[in-house]
Amino acid sequence: MSTQTPDLPVETMDLQMGPSHPATHGTIKFNLKLEGEKVLDCEVEVGYLHRGFDKMCEQATWNQVIPYTDRLNYVSPLINNFGYALAVENLLGVETPPRCQFIRVAMSELSRIMDHLTCLGMAASELGAITAGFYMIEARELLMRIIEAVTGARLTISYARIGGVKHDLPPDFSDWVADAFRKTRRLLADCERLLSRNRIFIDRMSGIGVVSREMAVAYGLTGPILRSTGVNYDVRKAQPYLVYDQMDFEVPLGTKGDNYDRFICRILEIEQSMRIVEQALEKMPLGPIALDDPKIVLPEKEKVYNSIEGLMNHFKFIMEGIQVPAGEVYFAVEGGNGELGFYIVSQGGGRPYRVRVRPPCFIAMSAFHEMIRGHMIADIIPTFGMINMIGGECDR
């Protein structure tokens, strides 16, 4: 049929997917240009959850920022807490006691596991494998209970403090973790059978949303998406913070950079994170959980109520805040979705002058149109799921 006129016009359809759509959890909108089911072009609209994080931080004292960070990646708020605290501590030029550092590592990794479980579970259930999704969520629930027991909250945790953490761990924390991990591993094995080796699931995931190694670097992607392309970059290994250099763990890498590799990367990272938690609990020293510096850490209630120094410390601390010297710092931790960086500028005084978060999933979403172009509508679901966009972090 070469004699036919060369270009028949194509029926394109504009479809606005989101912001209110079952798959766009976290409120995002895709302006799709479709040919049949094929996505010709995709424009991503974000910002539906923008709450002015940066502006709010500028109004708060240094410690008041911590609850705001909870609401960034609200699936793994501990990592955000610790990342911010570490950045400020860096600016202050102090280092927390070792027990605090071990606690932070253990809690970070628990958060990471939760983050990954949520991501995988949601992605699976959006693909229709609702049961596998529920198993993941159940595993998350086990961990969430532990975190709740430690911090007193499930979601908005605010566990970190500049110069330490809020409380020490409960005494039988290790047993809880061991128990939860045992169940989590069993549930993951079930999911393995339900998903990782399910032909339908593999067909849906592999070869979709492919990002090449070069493209991933060019877009500044980090976390599982970058590692699924085979680039070995994990902040915990590249620039070890806390006590990660004392931990024995591996960074799982993918090869093709497609959704399936991301899925597998996350699954394997869960296992590595569990190893880290176990090691951290094993090696955890005794000792204080916060700096003993009244300029930085709030005195204990005992002192506040019973001594005039304590009360004055408390008053000055609350009213003036921590006095952070002028300067700037960029401190990155490995968040659930990649490099979570805090760029903090201080002009001296009790309030930050500028708090900037490098949001990994915002950057990942900026590459989304490249991942989905030429695929079908249905492929948006796993691709978007594997990016694990968290609205709070993306839109801030």
Binding site: I130, N198, I200, I381
Partner: protein
């Protein structure tokens, strides 16, 4: 004459009653079953005067009430008439299909033989296909009348999927029809009463295992449930063709879907699992191949048979629910590929192999 009509009406009523109730029960089973699978509690809120203990009954009553009292929403720019017509079209074929499915052998009451089947049509299986082919209208028209792009996509997907799988389904049944040599479902079931090699029930599954797999796959695809729920595709197309449906109309779609599950189960049972046949149960009782005989009264036999049919159907409904809660969803092109490039060729091959087998069997006069 009046008695005949009365009997037929009674049968029709009975079947409709059973199917509709089974559909409702399935709705509850699905929710409880999925909860069971997923370590949840599941539907537990419905209560009658604060009495929540009888989950099944409560849900069975509460669900329709909830649906019926909800606002019947018609999109402002939708097509009012078609929007209303579509759910009827979705429900109707699912229900009338049962007319030809035999749920028991002959019941003799007062010397009058009553065939336990609403309508004994000599082209029963074709009738089923014809009705099944109508069920696509509910989707397509509903999708179009909603004036919504997601539902339009769902409608297009649904039309393509159902038409495609009808073909695979029809071809997969062909092998069974060739073996039994009739289109009449009652005849097919009767033929399955024999024994292969003296001990194995001559059920379709043993004669046509490949056809069973194909048919079951295609039947699940026809019911539009996971892994074939693309027309709805909740996470992709929101709810596909019934995005814009609520209240009673949605209930009709919903019931239609469950009625289709029952239909699929009944068809699989009828074609491949001996319908109402119980192994070794003859008209007068059990005749075991290794020589035991247990004579039973006629009514007991009939009840056993009807019961066997019900058990089998429910079992296959349960299998479908299991499937739905186990597998992820296909993608549109994968569904099409499966239908056209896997099921269809295998079904054709099955037909050819069966034909050869029958011819060779006739030669050797080994035909069952």
């Amino acid at each position: 004459m009046m008695i005949d009509i009365g009997i037929i009406a009674a049968k029709a009523f009975l079947v409709l009653f059973m199917v509709l109730n089974l559909a409702g029960v399935l709705g509850w089973i699905e929710r409880k079953g999925s909860a069971l699978i997923q370590d949840r509690i599941g539907a537990n809120r419905a209560s009658i005067f604060g009495f929540a203990g009888m989950g099944l009954v409560n849900t069975l009553i509460a669900d329709p009430i909830k649906f019926l009292t909800k606002e019947d929403f018609i999109p402002p720019k939708g097509d009012r008439f078609l929007h209303t017509l579509a759910p009827c079209l979705a429900l109707f074929p699912a229900l009338v299909t049962f007319a030809v499915i035999p749920f028991g052998d002959v019941l003799v009451v007062a010397g009058r033989e009553i065939v336990l089947q609403v309508a004994n049509v000599n082209i029963g299986i074709l009738y089923i296909f014809a009705m099944a082919s109508l069920s696509v209208y509910g989707i397509v028209i509903g999708a179009w009348a909603s004036n919504n792009k997601f539902s339009l996509l769902g409608g297009v997907r649904g039309a393509a999927q159902m038409v495609s799988y009808e073909i695979a389904m029809g071809l997969s049944v062909l092998g069974v029809l060739m073996i039994f040599g009739t289109l009449e479902l009652q005849e097919i079931v009767r033929a399955q009463g024999g024994l292969l090699g003296g001990w194995l029930p001559a059920w379709g599954i043993f004669l046509q295992p490949v056809a069973f797999l194909l048919f079951f796959t295609a039947a699940v695809a026809e019911t539009k449930r996971i892994p074939f729920d693309l027309p709805e595709g909740e996470s992709e197309l929101v709810a596909g063709y019934h995005v814009e449906y609520s209240g009673a109309k949605f209930l009709m779609f919903f019931t239609g879907e469950f009625a289709e599950i029952v239909t699929a189960g009944a068809l699989v049972t009828t074609l491949f699992f001996g319908g109402w046949q119980v192994p070794y149960l003859m008209r007068d009782g059990f005749h075991l191949p290794w020589g035991g005989t247990l004579l039973l009264p006629h009514l007991v036999v009939v009840l056993l048979q009807v019961g066997a049919f019900a058990v089998k159907v429910i079992f296959f409904c349960w299998v479908q629910i299991l499937l739905r809660w186990t597998l992820p969803r296909f993608r549109y092109d994968q569904v099409m590929r499966l239908g056209w490039k896997m099921l269809l060729p295998v079904a054709l091959l099955n037909v050819v192999v069966t034909a050869v087998w029958i011819v060779l069997g006739e030669r050797a006069s080994l035909r069952p």
